[in-house]
Amino acid sequence: MENLITGNEAAAWGARLSRVECIPNFPITPQTEIIETLAQWIADGDMDADFWTLESEHSVLSAAIGSEATGARTFTATSSQGLVLMHEVMYIASGMRLPFVMATVSRGLSAPITLWSDHNDFLANLNTGWLMFHAQNNQEILDSIIMAYRIAEDNKVLLPAMVNMDGYVLSYTKEPVEFPAQAKVDKFLGKYRPKHAFFDAKNPLVQGPAVLLPHDYTYFRYQHDTAARNALSVTRKACEAFRKQFGREYGLLESYKCDDAKTILVTQGSISTTAKAAVNAMRKKGKKVGLLRLRLIRPWPAKDVARELANAEHVAVLDKNVAPGQGGIMSPHVKAALFEYGAKPIVTSFIMGLGGNPESVGMFEEAVRLAEKDKRGGVLWLE
C-alpha cells in the first residue's frame, strides 16, 4: 500500500505499525498533527493504545518513563520549546535505559519565538545519551520509527531514540509513502519484553536509585556509553534486516555520489534532498560534487563520516542551526572526525536555514562555489 501523506502522518503510522501501547502527549506546532492523527485513529477504533495529554512536555516525558519502566511500548512526539522543556528528563530517560521512541519535529528555538524549522531544538540533545536519527523524507520517517524500536529495544542497546523530521517542510508536506504490512512489522519488531525495567509485585524492582559512589556512577555511565556505541552495529544490522524485509535501504549515513567527488556537501534532514537535486545539477555541468547525509547523529559514526570525506578536497558542512559564539553545531564534529582520521580536506562551515529560512538548489551550488574558493576553512552565513 502506498499513499500521499504528511511527515506527521508518517510518524503516526510508524507508531501505529509498531503497535505502541502508551502515548503520553502535549500539543506543539508543528508536531501536533502527529498526536491528532493518533487521537482520531483511537477515537475511531482503528488503533488501540492509551493516549493521554499531560499538562506539559516535562510531564509527557516523565509519563513516558513511567509507562516504559512498567514494561509497555511507549511513543511520544514533540518540537522545539517542548523538547527543550524536557531536557532534564531526557537524561533521566536514557540513564534509566528505557528504550522508547520519540518523534521530534524540528522548529527553531525562542527567543525570539518562531514557528519555522531549524535544527537547534533537535541538536540540543547531543549529550543526552539518546539515539538520534534524522530523516530526510516521509518514507524515512515512517521506516525509521519502526527501525528505532528494534534498535532501541535490542539488549545490546536499551536506550531511547529520537527520530527527527524538519517542521513544515516535511511535517506538513504530503509525499508518496509506502506502508509496510502490519504482519511484517510485527515480525520485524516482536513484542517488547524487558528484562531489566518493569514493575511486578512478585519481582519488585527499584528503578532510579541514587548512586552516590563515584565508582558505581562511572560504571553506569560506561555501560550507557557502550550501549550507545553498540547501536552503531545494531543499527547496521537493523538496516540490513529492514532491507531484506521491506526492500528499502538505509544506513548510518547516506553517501550520494561521493566516490569521486572533489567537493562534498554535508547535510542532515530534509534539506538533503534539495541538496541532492543540486548535486545532480552540478554533476550535469561536469562538477565532481557529492553529498554526505548524516542520518544517525548519536551514536556518532565518526569513522564512517571521515572515511566518506577523506578523499575530497573541499567539504561544505551546512548547519541549519547555530551555537552563538561557536558556529554550526555539527561542523566541529565533522572536523574532529576528519582530524581523528588524519584526513585534510578544507572544511567550510555554512550556517543557513535558521528559523525556516529556505534552502534552494541555488544555495547549495553557491555553497560549493564558495567552499571551492575557501583556502582556510571559514564560516559563512547563507540566505
Binding site: E55, S56, S59, A63, G66, E88
Partner: protein, 299 residues
C-alpha cells in the same frame, strides 16, 4: 483488611526495612513505613527527589515493594505512565506517590494538579516537613510563618519567614477529589485515610505532617509529641474534604505556643509574633466553626 479500629487491625508485614540514611526519629520515613502496611505488596512507590530518595542508595534499598524515583517535580506524571501501562499490561498494581512538601506545594504542584484533573487512579501522600529538607532546610511554601530556615533566616533585620503556608489540602480539595490531612501522632486516623484513599477509584490526596528533628530542631525522640501538639493547638487541623465539602475532625484545645516552643526553628519568636501566629490559627478555625469556608462536621 478489617476496619482499623485498633493497632491490632493493622497488617503486620513491614515492607520497609531499617538501615537507611534517614535521620534518627525522622517522621517522613515513619509515614512511608506506616502507609506501606496498608498499601500492601502490590504497590509501586513513586518518589520525588527529597530525603526519601536517599533510602535507595545503590546498591542497597530498604524496600520490599517496587519503587521508582524519576525527578523532583514529576512523580504524578511518572505515576500516570505506570497506571496506564499497568492497565494495558493487565498488571494489578496500586500506585503510591510519596513526595515531600517542596515537591508537592512547589516544584511538582502542576504535575499533581494535572494528574488529579485527569482522574488518575493513585494515592498521593505529601510528607510535609515544612521545608526543602534534603538540601538542608530551605523555605518552601509549606514553611510556617516566622520559621527560621536557611533561606528565610533570622537576622538583625529579619524575623524568619514572612509568608503564610499555602493551604494545600484545601487547594487539592477544591479540585473535587478526596483530600485529607493527617498526623503521625494519630496513626489510626492516618491509616484509615490511607485505606480510604487506596480504595477510591481515582486520585486521593493525603497530607501528612512529618516531624523533622533536623530542620525543626528538636530531640529525635520528641517527634510524636510535637505532631500531637500540632493537632491539639490547631496548627494542623485534621480534616477530610470529600466532594468539595470539608469535614473537620480535630479540635483546638491548646495555645499555639505549646507547639512553637518545642522547636528551635521558632525559638526567636517574640510574644507578639506568637500572638500573630495564634491569630492566624484562630482566624482559620473561626472559618471552620462558623462554616464560612466549607461545611464542617465534628470528628
Amino acid at each position: 483488611m478489617s476496619e482499623l479500629q485498633t493497632i491490632a487491625d493493622i497488617p503486620k508485614e513491614n515492607l520497609l526495612s531499617g538501615g537507611t540514611a534517614a535521620c534518627p526519629g525522622c517522621g517522613s520515613i515513619t509515614g512511608l513505613k506506616m502507609a506501606l502496611l496498608i498499601m500492601g505488596k502490590d504497590t509501586v512507590v513513586v518518589n520525588s527527589s527529597g530525603c526519601m530518595t536517599l533510602l535507595c542508595n545503590y546498591p542497597r534499598t530498604p524496600l520490599r515493594v517496587p519503587w521508582i524515583h524519576n525527578a523532583i517535580e514529576n512523580a504524578p506524571s511518572t505515576a500516570s505512565g505506570i497506571i496506564r501501562a499497568a492497565k494495558r499490561l493487565g498488571k494489578k498494581l496500586n500506585v503510591l506517590c510519596y513526595c515531600g512538601d517542596g515537591a508537592t506545594y512547589d516544584i511538582g504542584l502542576q504535575a499533581l494538579s494535572a494528574a488529579i484533573a485527569r482522574n488518575e487512579d493513585f494515592v498521593y501522600i505529601c510528607y510535609n516537613n515544612g521545608s526543602f529538607g534534603n538540601t538542608g532546610d530551605q523555605w518552601s511554601t509549606a514553611t510556617p510563618l516566622f520559621a527560621n530556615t536557611t533561606t528565610t533566616p533570622v537576622g538583625r533585620k529579619s524575623r524568619g519567614n514572612t509568608l503564610s503556608r499555602k493551604d494545600m489540602a484545601k487547594i487539592i480539595g477544591a479540585h473535587g477529589c478526596y483530600s485529607a490531612t493527617a498526623s503521625l501522632a494519630y496513626p489510626l486516623d492516618y491509616l484509615r485515610k490511607v485505606k480510604k484513599a487506596k480504595e477510591i477509584k481515582g486520585p486521593a490526596y493525603i497530607e501528612l505532617l512529618a516531624h523533622c528533628p533536623t530542620d525543626w530542631h528538636f530531640d529525635s525522640g520528641q517527634g510524636m509529641k510535637i505532631s500531637r501538639l500540632a493537632v491539639q493547638t490547631g496548627v494542623w487541623p485534621l480534616y477530610e474534604v470529600v466532594d468539595g465539602v470539608l469535614y473537620l475532625q480535630s479540635d483546638k484545645t491548646r495555645p499555639v505556643e505549646d507547639f512553637l516552643k518545642t522547636q528551635g526553628r521558632f525559638k526567636h519568636l517574640t510574644k507578639r509574633e506568637t500572638a500573630a501566629i495564634q491569630a492566624e490559627v484562630d482566624k482559620e478555625w473561626d472559618m471552620y466553626k462558623t462554616g464560612e469556608y466549607w461545611k464542617t462536621d465534628e470528628y
